[in-house]
């Protein structure tokens, strides 16, 4: 199977009540898919389902993923970084402290601009830095699929922009796919190759983002998304 994951008519929900209905989607290798939609529409539910976090149920449809798919996840909450571990130990959690891992983690920290923070404890880091530690930790797992749940949702505008650029660079360097949930439409267009818009009652639509399209085309797409969300 060349696609990483595939859903057919997938319905997800809690206690028998569907939140996501009839979703058809595929995710290709090295694709950046962003998911947008109003609050409570089930964006995070979808992501958590794909991460294998068993707090929601599959009500109907099909879900298949590549066997042995390596996944990692970045959450929104700063609490995802363990306060008692240094940056380096957070990145290496659950991994052997071998020379290979140490070298890799240092490279990744450098890539994310955290080289000088290796031995720092999280409470001395800014929110943006904490999120980058979480990204570094995920990258250490060499994921084929990186799941991101509003990773920059708690950051101020400037920091968010900087982290977005960095993430796109990281994405292009590491051969992986990213599924990123966000409520920020601009972020969705900025980062994604494709945008999945979730609407009420199982209605959903995909939008292709043309990287080479000019500012105008992007603005048009943004306006379209805003219009779709409002109706």
């Amino acid at each position: 199977m060349s696609v990483l994951l595939n859903t057919e008519n997938l319905s997800l929900g809690y206690q028998g009540e569907a939140l996501i209905e009839g979703l058809d989607m595929t995710l290709e290798p090295q694709e950046f898919l962003t998911v947008v939609g109003l609050t409570g529409i089930g964006k995070s539910t979808l992501l958590r389902f794909m991460a294998g976090l068993q707090d929601q149920e599959q009500i109907g449809g099909q879900f298949t993923e590549k066997t042995g798919l390596r996944k990692a996840m970045v959450f929104q909450d700063y609490e995802q970084i363990f306060p008692w571990k240094t940056v380096l130990d957070n990145v290496l959690v659950g991994l052997e402290k071998s020379t290979v891992h140490l070298t890799e983690s240092k490279e990744i920290l450098m890539e994310l601009g955290l080289s000088d923070k290796e031995n720092a404890y999280p409470h001395t880091l800014s929110g943006g830095q904490k999120q980058r530690v979480a990204i570094a930790r995920a990258l250490m797992r060499k994921p084929e699929l990186l799941l991101m749940d509003e990773p920059f949702g708690n950051l101020d505008y400037q920091t968010r922009r900087r982290n977005q650029k960095l993430l796109r660079k990281v994405f292009e360097k590491h051969a992986m796919s990213i599924l990123l949930v966000t409520h920020d439409l601009e972020e969705a267009i900025e980062l994604g190759d494709r945008v999945l818009l979730l609407k009420q009652a199982g209605e959903h639509r995909f939008y292709d983002v043309d990287d080479n399209a000019g500012r105008e085309a992007r603005t048009r797409l943004l306006e379209e998304l805003i219009f779709e969300l409002d109706t």
């Binding site: 991460a51 294998g52 976090l53 996944k71 990692a72 996840m73 959450f75 909450d77 609490e79 995802q80 363990f82 306060p83 008692w84 571990k85 959690v93 659950g94 404890y121 999280p122 409470h123 001395t124 930790r137 797992r141 799941l147």
Partner: protein, 255 residues
């Protein structure tokens, strides 16, 4: 250290107050000796060496009890956190046993464990295991759910989850449990000894206090109490502060 100095300053004020009461002559000197008498007594007792041995003996017994209690508490909490009959059993056990004073159990403990150091250790373990278990459980319950999600997503092993996540995450609670346990262990130790008398070659501080009471040596009695108080302050203000500085305060987790 700062706290230690502050506590010492308060101690000095109290000692001054003591001396004032002594000088006022409200109480007979035989039951209310002067500060100098107490200090002289302390120097003599320590100089003879027996009190030092008794203090060491007490500390050793308390630490053994604390260590066993801690291990037991960890085991109990592991069972407690599972759902089902075993968890109910531990919950019931804690509710029933926690309020029971160790001294109240003593007659039964003597029947079961005989007389001697062993029964005192059992009493100490009883005094410390419940507060330790309750605090550790509270700490694990307070652990943010996101840690479990991370453990799941990153397929962390049970060992990593326990040692690298659950334990440090509940450390603030565990430390407060240890402080309670330390104080309770002292009470159990002294109470047990005062009932049994000498344990081992020299006995411990309880034995010391008991003997001084028998001989109506009030200054020496007070010297013994002083030692217990100072030990308490040392451990609270120096040892625990040292541990906290190197752990939860360094990590920004101190609450």
């Amino acid at each position: 250290m700062k706290r230690f100095v502050r506590h010492m300053a308060v101690g000095l004020v109290l000692i001054g107050l003591w001396q004032v009461i002594y000088l006022s002559g409200v109480y007979p000197a035989v039951s209310f000796p002067s500060v100098t008498q107490v200090v002289r007594s302390l120097v003599i007792e320590l100089g003879e060496g027996v009190l030092g041995w008794q203090l060491l003996n007490t500390l050793r017994t308390i630490l053994s009890g604390l260590l066993i209690g801690l291990l037991l508490a960890v085991l109990l909490v592991l069972l407690w956190r599972r759902k089902g009959f075993l968890a109910d059993l531990v919950q019931t056990l804690v509710s029933v046993a926690h309020p029971l004073p160790g001294v109240a159990l003593l007659p039964l403990l003597i029947l079961w464990f005989g007389v001697g150091e062993r029964v005192i250790i059992v009493m100490i373990v009883h005094s410390v295991v419940w507060p330790l278990a309750i605090n550790l459980k509270a700490g694990m319950d307070a652990m943010p759910d996101i840690y479990n999600q991370i453990a799941h997503v990153f397929s962390l092993s049970w060992k990593t989850r326990m040692l690298e996540i659950a334990l440090p995450s509940s450390l603030p609670y565990l430390l407060s449990g240890l402080k309670t346990a330390w104080a309770r262990a002292w009470r159990a130790m002294i109470a047990g000894e005062m009932i049994f008398g000498v344990i081992g070659e020299h006995g411990g501080l309880g034995t010391y206090l008991f003997q001084k009471r028998v001989f109506m040596d009030t200054p020496a009695l007070l010297a013994g109490l002083l030692i217990i108080t100072v030990m308490g302050i040392l451990v609270e203000d120096i040892f625990f502060v040292w541990v906290e500085k190197r752990t939860i305060r360094k990590w920004g987790m101190s609450r």
